[in-house]
Symmetry: C2
Subunit: 395 residues, 2 copies
């Protein structure tokens, strides 16, 4: 989330190129990052007939007004005469929780609407544009005469609503993987000691990231070693989040009542994933608990581990659309090896832990030839205090 540096809102009348306007719309879109799921992040920018900046807006929260509505509200017909609207996603044609944006804009004296991406639903793609065209408003997909800049902006446009696009295209949960390591790739000492690798600025950003996804996923090792709260602790964000624990044998379930996790979260916000085969034992354990999490039964693969693809399908069925995997080493390795991680957030602290006495986040990932190495696509680098973070897509 917030894969680009936020742009500041220009003064009224500032001339913006189409590229600048679309980048500003993308920057605006990210402002909704912690509140719109499972809707897409969308941003909009309005320029006057002379290309001067008038206003901008974004989709602020799930069920709330769309970006176009927020950008265009309180503007007079006089102001909007000949105006050009830039929006990151094709304006919606249908009435859902809110009225159709295309129909709303069709009534305004706009000259043109440029949108970043066509509606991903092939059944309605182009319908928003058609409504505008029928009202005499130009409507077109964003393009640039600068091919390199167009490519970069198109990438940013896909990124800003990547979870939504993935959900829509694949009917699957979008998986982000967050890791924090030393610069030599180690995430914990062999003793299990791992706190703290990164600094306070990185850690605050991780709490922001938690709020950008529907749930946090951890393996049982993390629960066992660290007994974490896995809630969102961020000065500007108040949000209850969901937690998914992968514990095939249900080994830690008997301790559920004593875990910080169970004290901090409502029972229905905790999804405990166990093997289908463990049902009888799990039922017995649950009967002894004061509070019980949601149990997610998952089929196992040949090796006896939970089948991660099946696990994600179950989470999708339970309404989750995006998760952030937060480790530990074994869980991260499994998601990497299985090719099920979509986006990586890799924080690195300027320290060396030494692989001779520590654990790497890719300890079970084996590559036999360089041509099979795993690429992080569209990598971006951000710094947080003395740490840095690389983020990019894995699939």
């Amino acid at each position: 989330m917030e894969l680009i540096k936020p742009l500041s809102i220009p003064a009224t009348g500032t001339k913006l190129s189409p590229e600048q306007a679309m980048k500003l719309a993308i920057s605006e879109a990210y402002k909704g990052a912690t509140r719109v799921s499972p809707n897409p992040l969308v941003g909009a920018v309005v320029l006057d007939a002379n290309g001067g900046f008038i206003s901008c807006g974004h989709h602020e929260f799930y069920g709330g007004p769309h970006a176009e509505v927020n950008a265009l509200k309180n503007l007079s017909s006089e102001t909007l005469k000949g105006a050009h609207v830039f929006v990151t996603l094709e304006p919606c044609a249908h009435e859902g929780k809110t009225p159709s944006c295309a129909k709303m804009m069709a009534k305004l004296p706009l000259k043109k609407v440029t949108f970043g991406l066509i509606d991903p639903n092939p059944l309605v793609a182009g319908q928003g544009a058609d409504i505008l065209k029928n009202a005499g408003i130009e409507a077109e997909v964003f393009s640039s005469q600068n091919a390199e800049e167009e490519k970069e902006i198109k990438t940013q446009l896909e990124e800003v609503c990547e979870a939504f696009l993935w959900n829509f295209r694949k009917k699957k949960v979008f998986v982000a993987l967050k890791m924090a390591s030393s610069i030599d790739g180690q995430v914990a000492l062999k003793s299990g000691e791992s706190q703290w690798i990164t600094g306070p600025q990185s850690r605050e950003y991780v709490h922001y990231l938690r709020a950008c996804y529907d749930a946090i996923v951890v393996g049982k090792g993390t629960i066992d070693f660290d007994n974490p709260s896995l809630n969102i602790r961020h000065p500007e964000i108040k949000k209850d989040n969901k937690v998914v624990v992968i514990d095939g044998e249900g080994e830690l379930l008997y301790r559920f009542d004593e875990l910080k996790l169970s004290q901090v979260h409502a029972a229905e916000n905790i999804f405990w994933c166990v093997a289908e085969e463990a049902k009888e034992r799990v039922d017995k354990t649950l009967s002894k608990l004061k509070k019980t999490p949601q149990i997610v039964y998952v089929k196992t693969n040949v090796g006896g581990d939970l089948d991660l693809e099946a696990l994600l399908a179950q989470l999708y069925a339970k309404g989750l659309r995006s998760v952030m995997v937060e480790g530990g080493a074994m869980t991260a390795s499994m998601f990497i090896s299985s090719g099920l991680a979509n986006r990586l957030y890799m924080f690195q602290a300027p320290i060396i832990m030494g692989s001779g006495g520590a654990r790497s986040w890719t300890e079970t990932v084996r590559i036999s030839e360089m041509k099979n190495k795993i690429h992080i696509k569209n990598p971006r680098y951000l710094t947080f205090g003395n740490d840095f973070m690389i983020t990019g897509t894995l699939s």
Copy 2:
């Protein structure tokens, strides 16, 4: 080298704050990076009586004019009336290969000279400043009212001549360590395959770095696996460099004539480090070679490996003042473990190689408690295409 983004030279008359002037002087200093060793990198900036930019200069090559001379040349007394000179290091008081800069400046109608660091030689420290003061010119060490900025600039001032300061203070070789890894810290597959991890922009920068140090250091494994040329291949740099090979048993010496290394470099530019105990065998091998490198005999430590500290002392005795260790994994680990690396250049490519089937650059580094982790101080991050590089000091 070039640890900061180069600053562009401002237009004549542009007003610069003392902080801006000193940062520009530092940026200028780096321009000499590939040609001044073992002299320090030094830069100078001249502002007019109103604080407007007049000129700048740097120490361009070993034995050439000092930064102050380059910055002040061709300027009339009229122009220099009341001028303020910023220089990264105290102007020299003594006559060496070039006349004394302090004496040269004492003859000019300057108002003030601000220098970044006092001469590291305690016997002459302050003498340059005294010469100026006796001529009625204010002379002072740089300071800023902004404590944070002062700290950052002082760090940069130390960094820009770090090898020189280390040589002077410790009478030891300054050791940079360059590594290129995947983001999970792997430098080669178990098969030995490692080309290419990083992209062409990173690799070009490595050739620049090679030119910034007196010699490249590699272990025998690198020679054995890759048979590298280890010369400088950079579009803008033409320079013969020196190479140090660590091969305690002299195992690869018999193949010396066939190595690319021996074809590309003059024999006197190759330093082959072997154990004192291996002398007899080495002599026999040498007698069979057409061309023979310089042999550096080094005492061994308890484990039978070459004692790295003794090795560096030998290189210092042979006139080397700074080296860049380029691996492989074993050699890098040894320098990290022994605490003998001063600066790290860690390139990372946005790829995952998987530690399950690869080798880490810290494979023999063992840390048992987090409080003993090794810190990279004053870390800086630079990007090269899709790669990034972290650099900072280790000791």
